[in-house]
């Protein structure tokens, strides 16, 4: 058979299965709804995670680090280093805090006051608080932080990244959980679709038997059921895309309010068409796989 005709038969079969499913809308819709809801769960979670990662990155940009100079470092040394830092393009601003100012800040906090009163001399060093330039890249700024730590006059460099690290850890965990959920959902979908298709094959058992008697190959007998699974999966995928888009649209307002609190004009990134395609593809593929599983088992019992 020539390839064009082969393709034609596939398209033909694909189309007629779609027509058949549309003609029995209730049963098909229930299956599609189940698939759509199941797919929407990991898809929605993935969209939320993506936004959280974006959020974490946005907050990361705003973070600065502190350089504590050695206790004996002079004003000149501090000024020299501050000047060097300011010339670095990754640096936006360098705030200088003298030992005196630092002490005043501590005294102002009250809780340290009794301890400070007992001190004979000010133990605090010069401190430089370095903030990144607006356009500076994350890695550039981190590298700068590392270099600063190696300087002779520097005692230690501290970035308040703990919360960020926690957040990344949580996001990583959530990402893993999402993958796990995705895998479970996919397995469930293969089973659901497999079962639906299995019932359909049993319903059509006589027709399949007759076609087999007329010399239909396994491929021919399989084809309509595979396309049926494909359509179920694709339909479910489409529903999932709509649900995710609807969800993101609903969350868009509250998210903007939240970001306003952080003085950010970041908006919720909606589902991209690329993500939509991935969902549709996953749906169609699982549909096909589920149908394949059912067909392989059923045809053997019929022949």
């Amino acid at each position: 058979m020539n390839p064009l005709r082969y393709l034609g038969r596939h398209l033909d079969c694909c189309y007629s299965e779609a027509v058949r499913l549309v003609r029995q809308p209730l049963g098909s819709l229930l299956t599609v709804a189940a698939i759509g809801l199941a797919l929407a769960l990991p898809a929605g979670l993935s969209a939320v995670l993506q936004n959280m990662e974006g959020l974490a990155a946005a907050w990361g940009e705003a973070r600065s680090f502190s350089i504590y100079l050695k206790p004996n470092a002079s004003v000149a040394v501090a000024e020299q280093l501050a000047g060097d830092l300011e010339r670095n393009p990754a640096v936006g601003e360098v705030r200088r805090i003298s030992p005196g100012e630092a002490l005043a800040i501590m005294e102002g906090r009250g809780e340290f006051a009794p301890a400070i009163e007992t001190l004979e001399e000010n133990p605090l060093p010069w401190t430089l608080i370095v903030a990144p330039a607006p356009g500076a890249s994350e890695s550039e700024f981190l590298a700068l932080q590392d270099t600063a730590a190696t300087l002779e006059e520097v005692d230690q460099v501290r970035a308040d990244t703990q919360w960020l690290q926690r957040m990344s850890a949580i996001l990583a965990l959530a990402g893993q959980a999402m993958l796990l959920i995705l895998v479970m959902v996919l397995v469930a979908l293969v089973v659901i679709i497999g079962n639906t298709v299995r019932l359909e094959i049993q319903r059509q058992r006589d027709a399949v038997e007759v076609m087999s008697l007329l010399g239909a190959s396994r491929g021919y007998l399989r084809r309509p059921f595979l396309y049926q699974g494909f359509w179920y999966g694709l339909g479910g995928g489409l529903l999932a895309v709509l649900l995710v888009r609807l969800g993101l649209w609903t969350l868009g307002g509250p998210f903007a309010d939240l970001m306003a609190l952080y003085e950010s004009d970041r908006v919720l990134s909606g589902a991209s068409w690329r993500q939509d395609l991935v969902i549709l593809g996953i749906g169609a593929l699982t549909g096909w796989l589920g149908a394949w599983r059912a067909v392989a088992g059923q045809l053997r019992t019929i022949e």
Binding site: R5, R9, E209, V210, M211, L213, G215, S217, Y220
Partner: protein
Amino acid sequence: MIRLQEVTMRYRGGAEALSEVSLSVEPGEFTYLTGPSGAGKTTLIKLLAAIERPTRGQVFALGRNVGRLKRRAVCSHRRRIGIVYQNNLLLEDRSAYDNVALPLHISGLGPREVRRRTEAALDSVGLLKSARRFPRLLSQGEQQRLGIARAVVNRPELLVADEPTGNLDPELSREVMKLFRRLVGYGVTALVATHDLGLIESLPARRISLLKGRVDSDTSPS
């Protein structure tokens, strides 16, 4: 075209349906297969279509050892034989037209060819006007003719019919038999199982009689 060599067929858990049957049918021959109910006619046809495999002995048809065919070869073998099944085996959810077109569709013919041949086959059994109707809306006789149209539509080299006139009145029976013989005139080999002796007498041809799974007689009209 057809050759059976000491074929014995025993169904699982059943008695022998065929016992050491040997016979042969030459290309272009028209042959009746007769015998009372339970004689083994249907079993013989199932062996020819590779629906069952012989317990012992060899079945050859269309130059192939049918009992030894691999699964894929069974498919192409069945596409080359036209079979009229005893209970027609029509698909209830497809129109008469789609039922007849099915073998062509399975063989992968193009739409224009499918249309041309399907209409010709429907016409040859007088059902072209009923093409859009569904099997359950056709009479028994019409359903049987539909089964015949489906068997001949793919221009098989070998045509096998299992009591194709069982539900037809004598008039129609003769028409159907004449159709078969016309096909034989085009070089088709036909084996027709029937126990309609009147029909055989009015359209004489070679006749193989089975009795209790054995060849009882094999006579040709002089």
